[in-house]
C-alpha cells in the first residue's frame, strides 16, 4: 500500500532521515516507535507530502507519489495527480487542527463537499455516521472550542475518514492529551485497525503498539533499526539500541 524507498531528509546540517526503506501492506497496522528526534514524525510527513525529501521515492497503492533525485530542491509541486494520490491518505496530528471557526459537522463535511463534490445532505449524512463511529454524534453542531482534547482528536479522525482514505497516518495523536483522555482516542484507533484500515502510527503508547500493531518499526537517528512482530521486538529485540530503548520505556511502567 505504501512503499518507501531510499528516503533521505536533511534540515540544514541535521540529517533526519537516512536511507529509509519501508513497505506497508494493505490492512496492516504499522506502529513506529523510537526516541524523540529519531525521525518518526518526519517520515510520516514525507510520506504524505507535507515535507519534501532530499532524495527517495514514495509509492502509494502502486502509484508514484514522490520521486526525488539527490540535489533536487524546493517544495513539492502540488499537481492534480499529486493531490489525488495524497487524498488516498488521511492524517491526524499531535496538535489539534480542527478549524476553530467551523462547527464539528462543517469541519467534517468541508473536504467531501469541496474536494469530492458531494452534495450538502450527502456529506452531512456521511459526517454524522462517522461522528457516531467516533462517539461524537451529539457534538456535530458544537464548535471545536467546546470539545475536550480527546474529543478534538476523535473529531479529527472523523474528518480524515470522511474522504474515505485507504491509509491513515497518526502522528503522536495522544501526546498532547491529558492522561485520562488518551484511552478514548486509542480505542477509536484500535477499532479502525480491527476494521482492517491500513495504518501507520507514530506513538509513545507502548501498550497500544503491543496490542494493536501487526508490525513494530523501531527508528533511531533517522534510520530504521529493527522491525518485526510486536511480540518479537518487545520481548527479544535483536539490536542493542532497540533493547536499550525498550528497557527504558518499559521500566517506566
Amino acid at each position: 500500500m505504501i512503499s518507501v524507498r531510499g528516503l533521505n531528509k536533511r534540515f540544514g546540517t541535521l540529517q533526519v532521515l537516512r536511507d529509509v526503506n519501508l513497505e506497508v501492506r494493505k490492512g496492516e497496522a504499522v506502529v513506529v516507535i523510537g526516541p524523540s528526534g529519531s525521525g518518526k514524525s518526519t517520515l510520516l510527513r514525507c510520506i504524505i507530502g507535507l515535507e519534501a525529501p532530499d532524495a527517495g521515492e514514495v509509492f502509494v497503492d502502486g502509484r508514484p507519489f514522490i520521486r526525488r533525485v539527490d540535489g533536487e530542491h524546493g517544495p513539492l509541486r502540488r499537481t492534480r495527480e499529486f493531490r489525488s494520490v495524497q487524498r488516498l491518505m488521511g492524517m491526524v496530528f499531535q496538535q489539534f487542527t480542527m478549524f476553530p471557526h467551523l462547527t464539528v459537522l462543517q469541519n467534517v463535511t468541508l473536504a467531501p463537499i469541496r474536494v469530492l463534490g458531494l452534495k450538502g445532505e450527502e456529506a452531512a449524512a456521511r459526517a454524522r455516521r462517522l461522528l457516531a463511529k467516533v462517539g461524537l454524534e451529539d457534538k456535530a453542531l458544537a464548535h471545536p472550542e467546546k470539545l475536550s482534547g480527546g474529543q478534538k482528536q476523535r473529531a479529527s479522525i472523523a474528518r480524515a475518514l470522511a474522504l474515505e482514505p485507504q491509509i491513515m497516518l497518526f502522528d503522536e495523536v495522544t501526546s498532547a492529551l491529558d492522561p485520562e483522555l488518551i484511552h478514548e482516542v486509542l480505542s477509536v484507533m484500535k477499532q479502525l485497525a480491527a476494521d482492517g484500515m491500513t495504518m501507520m502510527v507514530v506513538t509513545h503508547e507502548m501498550g497500544f503498539a503491543h496490542k494493536v500493531a501487526d508490525r513494530v518499526v523501531f527508528m533511531d537517528g533517522g534510520r530504521i533499526i529493527e522491525e518485526g512482530k510486536p511480540s518479537e521486538v518487545f520481548t527479544s529485540p535483536k539490536e542493542v539500541r532497540t533493547k536499550a530503548f525498550i528497557d527504558k520505556v518499559l521500566t517506566h511502567i
Binding site: 502540488r78 489525488s84 491518505m89 478549524f99 467551523l102 468541508l110 473536504a111 474536494v115 472550542e145 474528518r159
Partner: protein, 222 residues
Amino acid sequence: MSYEWAWRVVPRALPVLFQGLRLTLLVTVVVIILGFLLGILVAAGRLARNPLISKSVAMYIEFFRGTPALVQLVWVYYCLPIILGLEMPSFASIVVALTLNVGAFYGEAIRAGIQAIPRDQVEAAEILGLSYPDKMRFVVLPQAFRIIIPVALSLSISLFKDTSLVSTIGVADLMYQARVLSTETYRPMEILTVAAFIYFIIAFPCTLATRVLELRLARVRH
C-alpha cells in the same frame, strides 16, 4: 489677562463645517475601500514566492510607512503632475495619495493576519485535498479576518482624522472650512474646538465599537 470665549460665532459656522464634514466622510469612505483593495494586493505581493515581487512590495510599504503622509500628499499633488505631465483634479490626487498611504498599512495588517494562522491549520487543509483558493477561502481567510478586522478598523479611524491633511492643498474638507472660518471670524480657538469636537464625536463611537468587536472576535477564536 483672560481669554474671552466667543461661542456666538459657532451657530453661523456650523452649516459650513458640516459641508466640509461631508467631503471628509466622502474621502474617508472612498479611501477605505480603495485602500483595502490595494492592501489585499499588497499582502498578496508581500507573501509572493517570487523575491522580486515581495522585495519591491516591501520597499513600497517601508517608503509609505516611513515618510510623513503630508509629504506624500504634497508629492502626489505637485510633483507627480510635473513628472508624468498629467493634470489631476485635486480630489483625485488626494485619493491617490491617501490610498497609497493606507494601502501600505492595510497590506501589512492583512499579511500579519494571514501569517498568524498556525502552520498546522494550513497543513490540515492541504492534506484534506483542498485547492489553494479553497484553502484560503474556507480555512485561512475566515480566521485571518478575525485578526485583521479590528486592526483595519483602527487604521480606518486614524485615516478619518488624517484626511484633515488635505486641507493644506486647498481641498474643502472639514479642517479646511474650519481654517477658513477661523481667519474670517478671528476666532480660531472656538472654531477649531468645534471642529475637533465633530471629529471626536464620529471617531470615538467607532473606537468603542472596534473594542467591543475585538473582544467578541477574541472570544470565538480558540
